[in-house]
Symmetry: C2
Subunit: 219 residues, 2 copies
DNA sequence: GTGACTTTGTGATATAGTTAACAAAAAAAC
DNA sequence: GTTTTTTTGTTAACTATATCACAAAGTCAC
C-alpha cells in the first residue's frame, strides 16, 4: 500500500488526542451524534478549526447532521494507533517520576510506562504502581529486551545529558524531557521538552502583561 | 508613565523564562558576554529568532560584540518581574500535587507555592515541602488573607469544574490546569492547560508518523 | 589608524495556523 | 414532495511565527 497519508499539520496532530478523549466521553454517555459546534464547546477549540482538522482525514461527517460518534471514535482509534500498545520507560524515580508511575496513562490512551530506572538503591528492586524499578546499569539490556524505544526523563538536570547519551546508545527513538536541560541529540531522535518551571513563569508573565483571556491555551 | 511597552508576541513571551534561566547559568559560570549564536546552541532556538525576540525590547546588544550577560540578565529580571514574589496556591495534594510541592520553583524563578488545599483529612493540617495544607472549606478565606490570585489545579477531573467555580468565587485571576477537564471560566480569567496525557499521546503520534526530528519542541 | 572580522538589528520573505463566510448537501418539518 | 433548517467541507483572508540575508556598526589585531 502507498503511504501513511498526507502529512497533517503539527497543530492538528497535537489536538487529536484531545478530540479522541472527548469522543470517548460522549460515547460512554451514549451519545450517537455530535456537531462541530458541540465538540467546540467541550474542548474549547473553535468549531471551524475542528472541521478543518477533521477534513485533513477526508469527509468524516455528514452535512446537516454532524459526525457519528461511533464512526469518528473508530476512525481516530485507528489513526492514533490505539489498538497497539506503546511501551515507555521512565528514567529517574523521584518526585515527578513517582507521580507518573502512579498514574494510569492507559485509560483511553494505549501508552504504558512499563519499566523504571534509577540509581538509588532504596528504589531499585521495588515496584511503584506495578512498574518494576531497575538499576541504570541494566538500562540498555532491559530496553532492548522489552523492545522499548520511548523514554520519559525525570532526573536531575545535571545528569540529563549523560543519561540521554546512554539512551541513544540503547537505541531510543524519542525522549520526553521534563528536566530544564536542553539536550543534544542526533537529528534522528525526537525530543519534546515539557519545562514546568518555564510554564509557570511564562504563565505568570502572561497574567501580568496581557489583558486577561484572549485564549492561548497550552495543550 | 505611559504604557507597559509594546505588546510582544506570545511565542516570544513563552521563551523569555528560558533565556533568563540560561543567562543565569552563563552568569554563574562567570561569562561576561554572549552572542546570539552561542545562546542558540544552548537553548536550541534559532539565533535569528533570539535576535528578533530581544529586539522587541530595543537594542540590547552591540554589533560585533554580542550581548553583555550582566546587562541582559538585569534587563530580563526587570521584564519578568523577578524582584517581586508571585504567590501561588495548589489545589489537590495528590501524586502530582505533592511532586510540585516538593519542588523549589523559586530557584531562578520568583514564583512560590505558598499554600495547598485538599479535602483529604489525613493531609489537611500537615506541611509538604514547607507548604501548609488547608481544607477546601477555608479556600476563599485563606486566598483572600494571603492575597493569592494564581492557582495550580491538580485534582481529579470530575471535580475540576466545581473547584474552578469556587476559585472564581475567591477572585482568582489565573489557573494552571493539569486535569484533563476543559474548564468554563469568564473571559477575565486566564487558563492554561497542561495536559500530560495529551502530551504523551501526541508525542507517540509524532514518533510514529513524522520523520524523526524536524525540531518542534514543546517548551 | 587601518583593514579584516564579527555580530547585531531588521526588512523581506517564507511557513504555519486560525477563522470567517458560504455554497452544497442532507436532514427535519410539515 | 416541498420548504426550511442544519451543518459540513473548503475557499479565501487573516494573523502569527520563523527564518534568510545583509547593511550597518561596531570590535579586534596589529
Ligand atoms: N518536581 C517538580 O515539580 C518539577 C518541576 C519542574 C521541573 N522538574 C524537573 O524534573 C526533574 C525531576 O524532578 P524531581 O523533583 O522528580 O527530582 P528528584 O530529585 O525528586 O528525582 C530525581 C530522581 O532521579 C534519580 N537519579 C539521580 N541521578 C540519576 C542517574 N544518574 N540515573 C538515574 N536516576 C538518577 C534520583 O535518585 C531521583 O530518584 C528535575 O530535572 C527537575 O528539575 C521537576
Ligand atoms: N499523576 C500524573 O502523572 C498525571 C498525569 C496526567 C494527568 N494527571 C491529572 O492530574 C490530576 C491529579 O492527578 P493525581 O495523580 O495527582 O491524582 P490524585 O488522585 O493522586 O490526587 C488528587 C488529589 O485531589 C484531592 N481531591 C479530591 N477531591 C478534591 C476536592 N473536591 N477538593 C480538593 N481536593 C480534592 C484528593 O484528596 C487527592 O489528594 C488528575 O486530574 C489527573 O488526571 C495526572
Amino acid at each position: 500500500m502507498a503511504q501513511e497519508q498526507i502529512r497533517i499539520p503539527q497543530a492538528t496532530a497535537r489536538r487529536l488526542p484531545l478530540y479522541y478523549r472527548f469522543l470517548n466521553n460522549l460515547h460512554s454517555q451514549g451519545k450517537q451524534r455530535v456537531s462541530s459546534a458541540e465538540l467546540s464547546e467541550a474542548v474549547k477549540v473553535d468549531s471551524a478549526t475542528i472541521r478543518r482538522d477533521f477534513s485533513y482525514f477526508g469527509a468524516l461527517g455528514k452535512k446537516g447532521y454532524g459526525y457519528n460518534v461511533n464512526y469518528l471514535l473508530g476512525f481516530f482509534r485507528k489513526t492514533l494507533d490505539q489498538d497497539e500498545l506503546t511501551k515507555v520507560a521512565l528514567i529517574g524515580v523521584g518526585n515527578l517520576g513517582t507521580a507518573f508511575l502512579n498514574y494510569n496513562f492507559l485509560k483511553n490512551n494505549n501508552t504504558k510506562i512499563e519499566i523504571g530506572f534509577d540509581v538509588d538503591e532504596t528504589k531499585v528492586g521495588t515496584s511503584i504502581g506495578d512498574v518494576p524499578i531497575y538499576h541504570m546499569d541494566q538500562l540498555k539490556e532491559k530496553l532492548v529486551e522489552e523492545g522499548i524505544s520511548v523514554a520519559i526523563l525525570t532526573v536531575p538536570a545535571p545528569v540529563a545529558q549523560i543519561i540521554t547519551d546512554q539512551l541513544i546508545e540503547a537505541d531510543i527513538k524519542g525522549l520526553l524531557n521534563f528536566t530544564p536541560a536542553r539536550l543534544n541529540v542526533p537529528p534522528s531522535i525526537r525530543v519534546h521538552h515539557i519545562d514546568l518551571a518555564v510554564e509557570l513563569q511564562s504563565f505568570v508573565y502572561f497574567l501580568k502583561h496581557y489583558p486577561s483571556n484572549e485564549k492561548e491555551d497550552t495543550i
